[in-house]
């Protein structure tokens, strides 16, 4: 198991170096000048030239890269061109909020989705199965911003049960978590159902039933555990996406997370902020994938020996 872990960790290093290089180069190829954004609508050529010098934007690109990579290695992601604040501090302020939202969406999606999946697999063709199939198609097809706006309209504007948007106590978390998790609920339900159906038809389940085990033990202890691998895959992937890309949900629900920070940074051409947050999010994504792999190994020990 520990060789497995070490191997995966070592594999992550070239991935992250690749991300660093690509992000750095992409921004120099992309149009749009950070200094033009800094100076606002009215500026003059002298000020622009001075700022370019100060920010070392006129240095050769390999010098700039070496300077940046040097900082990253020392744990310094630089300071924002626009706000002058350290990028690491900005990320530290926003990432916990994104994590909270993603984790809530995931817990919600896993609880509801897996339950529906198990129940519909146990009674295939039953009424719950049919409803969940229909719901899943809808859930997968609806874009998140549409779901988000509908949730706001229904629960905040019309029923007035929950606040429309913002960050604060748990009532602020419910709607965005639901909007963000809705797609996963649908998807998890379908994946759990098909995986469970396959397992429930296998020999060892028949054996378990023949031994006279109660149905609940058969379904939950024997079948579900063996059906989990594809479910973990979906959970891991979705969680990774939620942590790195809940931009629409954060925007609609005025959630002060990292997604909005990245989008703002891009529209203002705040290079250090874009580079720093993309790099950070890549680390997060790699970490989530690693944890997913470890979870596979836990669910199916054969994975670790491949």
């Amino acid at each position: 198991m520990s060789t497995f872990l070490i191997r995966r960790l070592l594999l992550a290093i070239p991935t992250l170096i690749g991300v660093l290089v690509v992000v750095f180069l992409l921004l120099y190829v992309a149009p749009g000048d950070p200094v033009q954004e800094m100076v606002g609508e009215r500026a003059d050529a002298e000020t622009i030239a001075r700022l370019r010098r100060e920010l070392r934007l006129d240095d050769p690109i390999y010098v700039q890269f070496a300077h940046y990579a040097g900082g990253v290695v020392r744990g310094d992601l630089g300071t924002s061109y626009i706000t002058g604040r350290p990028i690491l501090g900005d990320i530290a302020e926003r990432f916990p909020k994104t994590l909270l939202l993603a984790a809530s969406a995931m817990v919600l999606a896993a609880t509801v989705g897996i339950t529906i999946g198990v129940v519909s697999a146990r009674w295939p063709g039953g009424w719950l199965d049919r409803i969940s199939l229909g719901g899943a198609y809808l859930g997968i097809s609806f874009p998140v911003y549409w779901v988000g706006l509908l949730l706001i309209l229904l629960f905040a504007v019309t029923l007035r049960w929950l606040p429309p948007s913002g960050y604060g106590r748990i009532e602020f978390l419910i709607l965005p978590a639901l909007a963000l998790g809705s797609r996963s609920i649908a998807f998890l339900a379908r994946v759990t159902r098909s995986s469970m159906l396959e397992v429930l038809g296998s020999d060892f389940v028949r054996t378990a039933r023949a031994k006279g085990l109660v149905e609940r033990t058969v379904v939950v202890r024997h079948a579900l555990r063996n059906a989990l691998i594809p479910v973990i895959t979906v959970l891991g992937l979705d969680f990774g996406y939620y942590l790195t890309g809940s931009i629409l949900t954060e925007t609609i629900f005025s959630w002060p997370g990292l997604g909005r920070y990245v989008v703002n940074a891009i529209s203002r051409r705040d290079l250090p902020a874009i580079q720093g947050s993309v790099l950070f999010l890549s680390v997060v994504f790699v970490a989530v994938n690693l944890i997913t792999d470890l979870a596979y190994a836990k669910a199916d020990p054969r994975v670790a020996y491949e």
């Binding site: 992309a30 149009p31 749009g32 000048d33 033009q36 954004e37 800094m38 100076v39 606002g40 609508e41 009215r42 500026a43 003059d44 050529a45 002298e46 000020t47 622009i48 001075r50 100060e54 626009i82 706000t83 002058g84 604040r85 900005d90 302020e93 926003r94 911003y145 549409w146 706006l149 509908l150 706001i152 309209l153 905040a156 504007v157 019309t158 007035r160 606040p163 429309p164 948007s165 913002g166 960050y167 629409l248 925007t251 609609i252 629900f253 005025s254 002060p256 997370g257 909005r260 920070y261 989008v263 703002n264 529209s267 203002r268 051409r269």
Partner: protein, 524 residues
């Protein structure tokens, strides 16, 4: 980022905005929803965006300030005198004013503030409003240790000498970047600002909200409301939902929802409108190909039916432009004849300019939903007149950069005046020295126009100055370096429990000092 998300979903909502009734018993903080992104900083020296400028106007004072209807009035300067040659301004400062940290405000703060804003080490943008001061360029370039035209003969007097006369100078001093800061500037000043303004800074949760508490000892009288909250709501449809839920007191009506608010009486009763100092226009680069010929540019103006565009695409929210000076400012001419929508005339002009078979041009625009729709309409009109137009869409930053570098034939964009004066349109948009990053992306250069604008800048007599501005505007309009489309009207919804609110014409013209919340006195 502007996501144009189903405005219809909310427009169709049955929610009634004023369900809270005539008073709002839950709170006596006023909640604003206008900011769509986090301010850059709360340090006046870094103020280049609207959320920053607004917040700065709450915490700080300038020597002068704007009223909601965009007049300039005394701020920290109680009054000022101008010398006969228009070069020397003597500002007599208010006495007994203190900063929120208790330190006294004196003339020395003014000198230090301006030097700080001009100092490259502050890492702000260009302190444009302070550049007219004599010696400011030498100081900003590091060639002088002080600004020659800036002195404080005693604690309550500041004397400013300009390098050339500039009649609008007192208005420039009401801009956020000229707000007066205290002597001690800690490293986190942009996060925890200290000023002399009507509101003391309380907290700033990034991308979430800014909170201010009233300054009880404000020299202009303490605000009526205790707390002011500026929420940052990136999605306009969400801001509408917050308003309909009664959580915010003030809403800018998104362009796409104008009609739905004006249709129902209940909602319409909450609306307040004011002309904004925003010009929508198509800059025509006068240095590129066939566009060098004024007749071609006039043909372009004749080819576009701006009235239909304003009525159909903008719900009539604005004034048709007859030049670049907003109709609410001195120097505007609201009777000037507009280019008539006349395709035959446009084709005639093109033929006269040697293009009987029409021309090919590119029209650049950003991804903003309104700008994109307008661009498509303009393209349709131009194509119909033989001006074959290709749309080029880029994100705002790239489109701006290309236009500033002169790489675009035409660009559809907006211009927000920095201060309410004809000069804030004429000088940046069309003066030759403002070419490129200065704002003149038409690259228009006319010695006659420049001469008129310069004379207007120097003229101290208001009536004469207005006449000069008017002449300059007429000349610029005739040369057609742009299609001035229209001046936009701001439309706000205001909760019924808010009293004495006025829609500001200029972004930093509403400081909430006189605004009341009904019923809040009772609870105090």
């Amino acid at each position: 980022m502007r996501l144009s998300l189903l405005p219809l979903a909310l427009a169709g909502s049955t929610a009634v905005a004023c369900r809270g009734g005539e008073s709002n018993p839950q709170r006596h903080a006023l909640v604003d929803s206008r900011d769509t992104y986090d301010p850059r900083s709360l340090d006046p020296a870094l103020s280049t965006d609207v959320p920053t400028g607004r917040a700065v106007s709450y915490v700080f004072d300038g020597l002068t300030q704007f009223t909601p209807d965009a007049r300039v009035e005394p701020g920290l300067a109680q009054r000022w005198d101008v010398s006969g040659d228009g070069l020397t301004y003597t500002f007599h400062l208010r006495r007994g004013v203190t900063f929120h940290d208790g330190s006294a405000f004196t003339s020395r703060n003014v000198v230090r503030t301006f030097e700080r804003a001009l100092n490259p080490a502050t890492k702000g943008g260009r302190a444009e409003p302070l550049m007219p001061i004599r010696g400011s360029d030498a100081f900003a370039a590091g060639r002088a240790t002080s600004v020659a035209g800036l002195s404080a003969p005693n604690d309550s007097t500041v004397v400013i000498t300009l390098s050339e006369p500039l009649a609008s100078f007192p208005k420039l001093l009401a801009m956020p970047i000229a707000s007066i800061v205290p002597d001690s500037i800690p490293a986190d000043f942009g996060q925890r600002p200290v000023g002399t303004g009507p509101w003391r800074f309380v907290e700033w949760k990034h991308d979430d909200y800014l909170k201010f508490a009233k300054n009880p000892s404000y020299w202009g009288g303490a605000p009526t409301i205790d707390t002011l909250v500026a929420r940052i709501i990136p999605e306009p449809s969400t801001a509408v939902a917050e308003f309909e839920s009664g959580n915010v007191d003030l809403l800018v009506i998104p362009q796409g929802e104008t009609a739905s608010w004006e249709q129902t009486d209940e909602k319409k009763a909450l609306l307040q409108s004011a002309p904004a100092l925003i010009l929508y226009y198509v800059a025509i680069n006068t240095t590129r190909g066939p566009l060098k010929d004024a007749r071609v540019r006039q043909a372009i103006n004749h080819a576009v039916d701006t009235k239909t565009i304003l009525d159909e695409l903008m719900g009539g929210r604005g004034f048709l432009a007859r030049g670049v000076v907003s109709p609410i400012l001195d120097g505007a001419d609201t009777t000037r004849a507009r280019y008539a929508y006349d395709v035959a005339k446009a084709k005639e002009l093109l033929t006269a300019a040697g293009h009987p078979n029409g021309i090919d041009v590119e029209l650049w625009h950003s991804q903003d939903a309104t700008i994109s729709r307008l661009s498509q309409a303009v393209q349709g009109y131009l194509n119909a007149a033989g001006i074959r137009t290709k749309l080029v869409q880029r994100d705002a930053s790239s489109a701006r950069e290309a236009a500033r570098k002169g790489e675009t034939d035409m660009t559809l964009k907006t211009w927000y005046a920095d201060y309410p004066d004809a000069d804030s349109f004429l000088y940046p948009l069309l003066y030759s020295a403002s070419k490129g990053p200065g704002g003149n992306v038409s690259f228009y250069a006319s010695p006659a126009f420049d001469k008129l604008v310069l004379s207007a800048r120097r003229e101290q007599d208001d009536a004469k100055r207005a006449a000069l501005s008017r002449s300059a505007d007429s000349l610029g309009y005739a040369d057609a370096p742009m299609i001035p489309l229209f001046f936009y009207n701001d439309l706000y919804a205001v909760q019924p429990w808010i009293r004495d609110f006025r829609v500001p014409t200029i972004f930093n013209g509403q400081r909430w000092t006189a605004v009341k919340i009904l019923g809040s006195e009772r609870r105090q």
